[in-house]
């Protein structure tokens, strides 16, 4: 019997010979349900379909687009796709989740996951629909920016398709190229756009019309009614601020608690933060709100700015982009940050890695370790920043080296540049500076994809409770957060309603039961999330990851903070080691960070 939430089918597309087939997994349903959906399905597929030597940019590599059981339903933010692959940037497990509405279309085509392998000789775009896949010529789109590509394809198909695109950066195999949908939502991190580029796929248009299977739709609607009422009444001030400003509201907070990355993470407070905060955004550049599928929060902020004298529109900058392309580059001009955001979106670059890479380059140049192709090595210099974005996108001059990300660029530069790289496992660090935050250092160190906050932002808890503590409670909270936050990427819905607007976590097991008819409680779902986390760890271990890779960047241990409330503070290595050892022990991993046989057996993984 088909339960709700799942279509029980995946779609396998081989680009090399333009073929596709449906994989029914109903008979193995129990095997799949253990992994919940979304990033869990991605982990299962990547574990089974890749090995220690899989080259992420070879035709043999795969990229998977995974929906979760809640995707497409009347649930706030439930349009998500978790894209999973081996990252070309880091060489290890990667998942990058995107909002908008494309996830709902995959479900409406009748699939849970889409798996793409192979490489086509010529540029194509895929059109996935109810009956299968059409392979369309994309020669006329090659070289075009993300937004233009989306509009042209929508015009060509003349239907309700949602379109995922790459820009020139993905075509040119910049290792941190992103995938864009709905004119401004990105699967930003880990180079998902690079993988599409390597396969000669310019875009994926998805248009489904089928009913999404759901066990008790009325109940799902009731729960959402209750959720919306809760959001409106429980803490209206918080709700109103978040819907008005989205994640940009975090900028003042990051400045206040001192974790705002500034000038390549050398500092954690930015003297011009008031020029780039939420109020300034609203006053200077915001023109409208943008919400993902079914989401009343509308955290996206559409803004206008100028690029080369022409007026352009861009969804953003959100907090991460304000931090990485703003304070981290010493740039206190909102219009310029929005312009840099626009350029990254147009070329198809991850704004976080781009800000990390350019910050790294400017600092190296300031210290006389490299030259910037004649550009000024100055913080906040828009000519330098805009030029480097273009050079990276087209791999021109210095861009050829920077297109590989900070880790590989530093290896090429040598000359001591490695000590200035801000990354974990090869992924540039996102928007939290951690020398005065042991828990957040651990969050970056132990995230399964590198220095990204999607697995845990314990920084919030840490700054509210015991900032400098090296405690078991902190590590336990960390592990719980890693399971809770990751569960949203498995369920296929957004976490902001919970983590930003305080919707109780208990709503999600209720959604799961109403959707699937499976009587699972919160503990079972969190166990599923833990199982996924251990499987992604095993994927990483198979690719050479171990304890040595679970550390924050060297700067965190070596350079005391030069300014701000925590001036003089740095992370002590022995404190971090204590946290890491507690973490391994609580996870049931050995001292080298490898899950024990007993742990894997208890999770049903071996």
């Amino acid at each position: 019997m088909q339960l709700g939430g799942y279509t029980d089918r995946n779609l396998l597309i081989d680009i090399s010979n333009k073929s596709f087939k449906t994989i029914d997994w109903l008979k193995q349903k129990n095997d799949w349900l253990k992994f919940v959906g979304g990033r869990g399905f991605g982990a299962k597929i990547i574990w089974e379909s890749t090995n220690a030597d899989t080259d992420p940019l070879s035709p043999d590599s795969i990229i998977t687009l995974n929906t979760g059981p809640l995707t497409g339903l009347p649930i706030p933010g439930a349009g998500r796709i978790s894209m999973c692959a081996i990252s070309p940037l880091t060489g290890i497990w990667a998942d990058s989740s995107v909002g908008g509405a494309a996830g709902a279309e995959i479900k409406q085509c009748g699939y849970d996951s889409v798996i793409i392998k192979g490489r086509n000789k010529h540029p194509i775009y895929l059109h996935i629909h109810d009956e299968g896949v059409d392979f369309e010529n994309a020669k006329h789109l090659w070289g075009k920016g993300s937004f233009e590509t989306e509009t042209i394809i929508k015009d060509e198909l003349n239907n309700d398709a949602r379109v995922l695109t790459i820009g020139p950066a993905g075509e040119n195999l910049v290792l941190f190229a992103c995938i864009t949908t709905d004119y401004g939502r990105q699967a930003g991190r880990t180079g998902m756009g690079t993988i599409l580029g390597s396969k000669n796929i310019k875009a994926i248009a998805i248009n489904g019309t089928k009913d999404i299977p759901v066990t008790d739709l009325k109940k799902v609607v009731e729960i959402t009614d209750e959720a919306i009422e809760f959001l409106l009444k429980n803490d209206p001030e918080r709700y109103n601020i978040f819907t008005r400003h989205g994640t940009t509201m975090s900028l003042d907070w990051a400045q206040e608690v001192a974790c705002l990355p500034t000038r390549n993470f050398q500092e954690n407070v930015f003297e011009q933060s008031e020029n780039i905060n939420a109020e300034s955004m609203e006053e200077k550049i915001k023109i409208a709100d943008r919400g993902c599928y079914c989401c009343p929060l509308a955290c996206g902020k559409l803004t206008k700015t100028k690029v080369n004298g022409e007026q352009v529109y861009v969804e953003g900058p959100e907090y991460e982009t304000l931090a990485l392309l703003g304070s981290n580059l010493g740039l206190g001009n909102l219009e310029a940050i929005a312009a840099a955001n626009y350029l990254c979106d147009y070329y198809g670059l991850d704004t976080i890695s781009t800000g990390g890479v350019i910050g790294f380059a400017i600092e190296c140049a300031q210290r006389g370790l490299i030259s910037l192709d004649g550009l000024k090595a100055e913080w906040g210099n828009t000519e330098t920043i805009f030029n480097l974005i273009e050079k990276i996108s087209y791999r021109k001059g210095l861009g050829k080296i920077l297109a590989h990300g900070v880790k590989k660029a530093a290896e090429t530069f040598g000359n001591g540049c490695q000590s200035l790289t801000m990354h974990v496992k090869g992924l540039e660090q996102s928007g939290y500076e951690t020398r005065s935050l042991p828990g957040m250092s651990l969050a970056y160190g132990t995230s399964d994809m590198g220095a990204h906050h999607s697995r845990s932002t314990i920084v919030g808890w840490e700054t509210r409770t015991d900032r400098f503590g090296i405690t078991k409670e902190k590590v336990e909270t960390q592990i719980l957060l890693q399971h809770q936050r990751s569960l949203f990427d498995a369920l296929g819905t957004c976490r902001f309603q919970w983590c930003e607007c305080k919707l109780p976590f208990e709503f999600y097991p209720r959604y799961y039961v109403a959707t699937t008819g499976i009587d699972a409680d919160q503990d079972e779902l969190l166990l599923g999330s833990e199982r996924i986390f251990n499987l992604t760890r095993m994927i990483n271990i198979r690719r050479g990851v171990s304890r040595k890779d679970d550390y924050p960047p060297e700067r965190v241990f070596k350079e005391p903070l030069p300014s701000g409330s925590y001036k003089g503070k740095k992370m002590e290595r022995e404190d971090y080691d204590r946290l890491l050892e507690m973490y391994y022990e609580l996870r049931g991993w050995d001292k080298n960070g490898i899950p024990t046989k007993e742990k894997l057996a208890a999770l049903g993984l071996r």
Binding site: T151, R162, T209, K210, D211, I212, D289, G291, C294
Partner: protein, 82 residues
């Protein structure tokens, strides 16, 4: 008294909550493509269209049409005139 729904597309966030709940409540399906309203995601301003099949939820026992109820951006506003 004539009822109609006023559209202010510049306030629309493109979240499609109107479509999704219209379909769920009026047709009993999780299928926004069956809704009586369409949000076309054009950039930078979306387009909102009502299909001829829309009867302002008259067949339901509700005070205001479902799409208006769920839109919290004031992109859809119920107007009673005459």
């Amino acid at each position: 008294m004539q009822r109609r729904i006023g559209i202010n597309a510049s306030k629309c966030s493109t979240c499609r909550i109107c479509e999704i709940f219209c379909a769920a409540v009026n047709t009993g399906t999780a299928n926004p493509k069956k809704a009586h309203i369409r949000v076309v995601n054009m950039f930078p301003t979306p387009k909102i269209e009502f299909l001829e099949s829309c009867n302002l939820c008259e067949s339901l026992d509700v005070e205001i049409p479902i799409c208006v109820k769920y839109c919290n951006r004031n992109a859809l506003v119920l107007k009673e005139e005459g």
